[in-house]
Assembly symmetry: none
Homo-oligomer: 194 residues x 4
DNA sequence: CATGAATGAGGATTCATTCAT
DNA sequence: TATGAATGAATCCTCATTCAT
């Protein structure tokens, strides 16, 4: 049924009719209401499932025995794909997020849990970097994770059509780790200063 | 009339009725259609005006004769306030953005222009940092501006309720400029590398 | 707009669609919602208007300077016509009555007031009969009015298709006033015993 | 299965879902359709069963060897209980009555038969009164029965919350038999005229 | 016989938009 | 130019009914 999340990937909550969902899922309209109490419920279940899927991928990245740098790179790729592919879905999550807060039925809890899950998955990888001495320890891994996610979102949405060298995730990781300031000594991340 | 953007600040596009807008603006409903072709048009005009307002502020920051670092700080503060205060407005822009693309009437052009305006205002400040040698020149100022904006958005939205030291803009600027990597010489808030 | 009460005269609440009402009233569907908050509201306004109309007629009967007996007769005719013509409307009132009690907006008060109005109009005539010595004083006029209304309802609904002498209102009034018991001495109401 | 008439006692036809009925009866929803062709059929069967039950009680009253007056009193008590307890059921019968007329399947006949049954049971008792000389013979027992039922309905529905002396069935029987007119010889509860 | 998941027709309600004044 | 009453298309949701198991 969530296969009808396909619609949520490309269009917005209020642009999608349940008739459409039903038609695409090839079920009767009433059938949807057997499994979801609401249009909103359908949306949240779908969103939550998306999060879970991504978190699963992230966790797989984390457990594979590669270096921190490569792990971070792969994390970026995973998240990037998700963000780019599901822009409307994430927009919906963003905009409907607090709407969920006002609803009963434990949605609030489930929602916050998933959000924390996603951030946590990235934070875990960053925490690994702290442990290995690659990442500064003076900012919490969670906050760094949020900022990294913010940059990835920017890349996926605002810079989606930008050409050029900054397209590589390596460059993004470099910016995230070494910052925007000019460096006198060349670094190890592969982007050579002029 | 745009004073009715007050509504857009706290609620979503499809949650706002034109009756409300008209009532708040204290005009007849029909009057709106004398000045805006559409509900969507009203929205875009409002959004664009918001952008212009912010750009104006940014430009004032840029021209005042302060150091790059202070200018960047003030820029962050300006943008932050805008982001925090107008989360729903920006969400609308984000989500309705491509809708605008498909519409006629030069909206597409006007929209892209304003977006470029905002990014440009931040980019100009960053370009100043490049000129002064504070910012690495190997990534275009526009892209750096986008990322900075992304971090500011993250701070305004995702980290809105986070307590602690990362709340100061100084900390955010530090992260943006020096990066997340551990530095050999522990130097926490300075900008220039040793 | 209440001219669409015509529909309520012949069909039941849930058998009537607002499309029908709108079509018959020759207005847009939305227009109905400008004047009635609800389908239920439309129903109650209509019902109340019906009551008022009947009460108006009853009051006209009461004020005309005729004997008690003739007044009662005319009252019966008036009520009868209403009952027969608006069976579904009254059924609705009956069945939706308590529904109204649970709703806010002063509907409860308005409803009880109208009901009391109708009973009161009949009770006033009966009270006249008490004053003139025609009606027994040991039962309150209101209760007698209720029973008379009950008999009229029976006549209008259950006996609608009964042929024969009991069709005349005179006979009903006789039954109401002199009762069902056998009388030894002939009375003054015109129905002679065999 | 008709044990689910419990629902019909307190709510209206269109407020009751078959899911509810099935759940309460503790059978599958489909099972209902094995025994009833329709929701309406279920309703009529239930209503008819209610009538039969009441008629059975009435017949028991009639056959017990008590005086006419006591028999009438007990009849009133029996019917009253039924009316008060099943107001919604009778409303349904009233309002759906003609709907039954338009349906095939002999429902019309079955319905009219039961109606005649109930009236007949009361009429039989009244006919007994005619035979004993207690009841006037110039109005058919059936019609008198209808009016008596009408008064009982009024008492059960309209006067349900009325306090005071008219609450006793004796008073109602008195009104029915001796009428509302003032009597020259004040004789308040007796049945036979002097 | 019994079931209950699936169905989809049907209806109340909202709200952007128009247009006569 | 300003208005706001009128409009009706659009959509969520319910629930009687069916039918494969």
């Amino acid at each position: 049924m969530q296969a009808a999340e396909q619609l949520f990937r490309t269009r917005q909550f209020h642009e999608i009719t349940l008739d459409e969902v039903a038609r695409l899922a090839d079920v009767g309209k009433g059938t949807i209401y057997l499994y979801f109490s609401d249009k909103e419920d359908l949306f949240f279940q779908t969103a939550v499932a998306g999060f879970d899927e991504m978190c699963e991928l992230l966790r797989q990245n984390a457990t594979s025995g590669i270096t921190f740098h490569d792990g971070l790179l792969r994390t970026c790729e995973t998240v990037s794909g998700f963000f780019r592919q599901r822009r409307p879905l994430f927009l919906m999550i963003l905009s409907q997020g607090e709407r969920a807060m006002e609803r009963g039925g434990g949605l609030r809890e489930r929602w916050l849990e998933r959000r924390k899950n996603m951030t946590g998955a990235v934070a875990a990888i960053i925490a690994g970097g702290m442990a290995s001495g690659d990442i500064r320890p003076d900012i919490s891994a969670e906050i760094l994770a949020e900022y990294l996610l913010g940059m990835l979102r920017t890349r996926a949405w605002e810079l989606a059509d930008q050409p050029g060298p900054m397209r590589s995730h390596a460059a993004l990781v470099d910016l995230f780790t070494t910052g925007a300031a000019r460096r006198t000594a060349p670094e190890h991340t592969g982007i050579s200063n002029p």
